[in-house]
Each structure stands twice: as structure tokens, then as C-alpha cells.
């Protein structure tokens, strides 16, 4: 059911299904918890962060796997691809903007170019952080293994930590940007909460031959 009328009788289209939204918000919670349990101790707020951190890290890993499988088998992978034409449009809009300071709106597919970019950057740095994070799990005791600080040489641990922290910093930056745009363009937030967008919003921002809500 991808189309309905809301109580005011206006036509609404389904943008984000329930599962997508749940996954999105779980991602959000995990990332938020991970950020709190990593940056706050460094800032000096001391508390028992290790267990929460690696536990939510594992939850994040599970979410990534679940989301990837879902996207590969149940959704259109292409909606996330950035096409050449979009890039050209984007460059054109930039030149125009610098020439006449007019913002140029173009209609995109399901996801605008900026959302796609945000998604890809998220993907990159989440994967880096997860990869290094899992390696760091070797160091802590868990029901299945005893932490072994000497598994890697000092140098290698240093590198793993460095990439983990760089990834985390970029994640923090992207989260800040993502939250900012999520609030500034309240329609995006609304659609991620309710899942529906109004018909005129659809027509205003989306090109129907790139994305039809009902397919």
C-alpha cells in the first residue's frame, strides 16, 4: 500500500517503509550511544563505557548486515547510485549559483544527490570504524576469548586505533551534518518518522520517471 489519502483527503505517497524507518532509527540510536561512550570519556566524563560501547558496536554490525542484505535482495540498489547526469546537473547548479546566487532546484529520484553522498560517506566511515573496532575487540575479555593485548605488535595497534578514531571523528562530523539537514528540511524528518510524503512534495522534489512511489 504505497498510496493513501490522509484525513484532509490529500494524496500521500509512501517514501520510507516501516522497516526502513526502524532500521534508520536503530542506526541512529546505536551511533549516538557509540559516540557518547567514546568521546565523553576522552573529554573527561569518566564512566564504565567499554561494555556498552562494544555491545552497541556489535548491534551496529548486525544492523549493517541486515540492512545490506535487505537492500541487495528486497530493494532497488540503483536508487543509491549516483548517475552521471546528476553530477552534471550538480556542477551546472554550482556554476549558476556562483554566477547569479540563485539556488537551482532539480528533481531527483527517491534520494537526492546530497542524501546519497551522506549515505555513502556514512557507509565508508562506519565500515572503517567497525573493521578496526572488531579488531580491537581482540583486546578485551569476552565469554568466547580472553583479551590479548599482545595479539598485534604495538605499531599495528597504534594504526588500528588511529583509523578507528579518524573514522569516529568523521562519523561525528557526518552525524552533525545529517542531523542539521534533517532538522532544517523538516519534511525529510517528517517522512522518516511517518514514512509518507504529500503528493505536491513528491511532484516538487521528485522526477516521476526516476522514482514512482508505487513500484
Amino acid at each position: 500500500m504505497t498510496k493513501k489519502n490522509n484525513e484532509l483527503g490529500r494524496v500521500m505517497f509512501l517514501k520510507h517503509s516501516l522497516i526502513d524507518r526502524v532500521i534508520h532509527w536503530l542506526f541512529a540510536i546505536c551511533t549516538f550511544v557509540l559516540i557518547i561512550t567514546s568521546f565523553f570519556p576522552i573529554l573527561g566524563f569518566n564512566f564504565s563505557w567499554l561494555f556498552i560501547h562494544w555491545f552497541s558496536g556489535l548491534v551496529l554490525v548486525f544492523l549493517v548486515i541486515f540492512h545490506s542484505l535487505r537492500v541487495i535482495f528486497f530493494q532497488q540498489l540503483q536508487s543509491m547510485f549516483i548517475s552521471k547526469s546528476e553530477l552534471i546537473n550538480f556542477v551546472k547548479s554550482l556554476l549558476l549559483f556562483f554566477k547569479s546566487f540563485k539556488s537551482f532546484r532539480y528533481r531527483s529520484g527517491k534520494y537526492s544527490l546530497s542524501s546519497k553522498l551522506v549515505h555513502h560517506i556514512f557507509t565508508l566511515f562506519i565500515l572503517i570504524t567497525i573493521a578496526t573496532g572488531l579488531l580491537m575487540m581482540i583486546k578485551i575479555d569476552s565469554p568466547f576469548w580472553d583479551g590479548n593485548l599482545y595479539f598485534f605488535s604495538e605499531g599495528l595497534w597504534g594504526l588500528i586505533y588511529t583509523f578507528h578514531d579518524i573514522g569516529a571523528l568523521f562519523l561525528l562530523t557526518i552525524v552533525i551534518i545529517h542531523v542539521y539537514f534533517g532538522i532544517v528540511r523538516i519534511r525529510l524528518l517528517k517522512s522518516m518518522v511517518t514514512g509518507w510524503i504529500s503528493k505536491d512534495e513528491y511532484e516538487k522534489y521528485h522526477d516521476e520517471n526516476l522514482w514512482k512511489p508505487d513500484d
Binding site: G155, T162, D165
Partner: protein
Amino acid sequence: MFEKNKILEKNRSSRRAFIKGVIASGTAVSSSGYIFGSLAGCSPDQSVLGSVERLVSLNVNGQTRRVDVLPNETLAMTLRYKLGLTGTKLGCDRGECGACTLLVDGVPNYSCSTLTHSVRDKQVTSIEGLQGPNGELHPVQQAMIDELGPQCGFCTPGQIMSAVALLESNPNPSRDEARQAMSGNLCRCGAYDHYLNSVMKAAERS
């Protein structure tokens, strides 16, 4: 494997500092009010306490000695390197051996773990302060000679200072009381029972 490869160790700690810097700069603006607030709180009229004066007079072995003492200088270092009293020995400089024992107002202290500035108005007695005006030995010193207390002699000054303090407060201690009082003085040569013989002999005599 920590403080070893200075290059690597440098980037790990610098990496942590880097992260702190990024976050801190993020929060710096918002917290500036807090910082300025606290400075304002330091009211001008409260006497701004300064660090200790460098030039002090110490009372060592009954003499007043004027000496320039750093704030972080321990009493053992002052005696050994500024007052020429090398009888107080440094065995470990961590309060774990007792070779640096001397008396502050008659109480045995590890002088390696006592700041000189904390004994400014106190009576310091070191091993060199036990002899009489023209060299007569303290009863404990004489007993140590007669009973062959020391072996190598490095911990002897500390042992004697503890013994002197003990006899001051308890003129005829039992052997076990002496053993408890002297227990803060390590002797690697193992001359413990000879030291105790000396203490008991000194107690007998005085």
C-alpha cells in the same frame, strides 16, 4: 612496550590529544562563559598566596643553617648536597629502605620523602648530630661499636637514628619492642640481631 618507541608513542598520545583538541575546540566557544565566569570569581581582595620563599633557615643538629632550598627539594638532598652532611644515605629514595632515616622533632622520618620546606621550623637531627661537643659518642653509637652492630655500614646511620628515638621515648625497651621500632630500617647484610644487641646494650648502659 609503552614508553618505548618514542616516535610511535608520540603519535598515539598525540592522536589522543588531537581528538581532544577537535572536540574541545567544538565546545570551547560554548564554554567560554564558564571560564570567564570562574576568573571573575577569584576576588581580588583575597591574598594571593605565593609559593614558598627559597632562602630559609633550617635548624640542623642544633645549628641554624641558611640555605637556598628549591620547593621540590627533599631533606635528604638538602643535607647531602647543600649542607655537606653526607651521613644520611640514599638507599632507594622511595621510602622503602630507611637508610635516610633522621629525626624531626625527635621523630624518625624518611628524609628522602620529606620536603625540606616542611621542616623549616622543626628540629632536624641527623647522624652527625649525635656526638657530644668534643666527639663523645652517643651511647647507641658506642654500643654499636662494642657489639659490632653494622656490617657494611650503609644502613647504620638510619638504624642508629631509629634506635636513638626509641631510647628517647622508651629507655628500657624489651627486645621485641626494639625490633618493632627498628623494623622500618632495612639491612641487606642481615645484621638485625647485632643491631638489636647494640640497642639492648645501649639501653642497659643509660
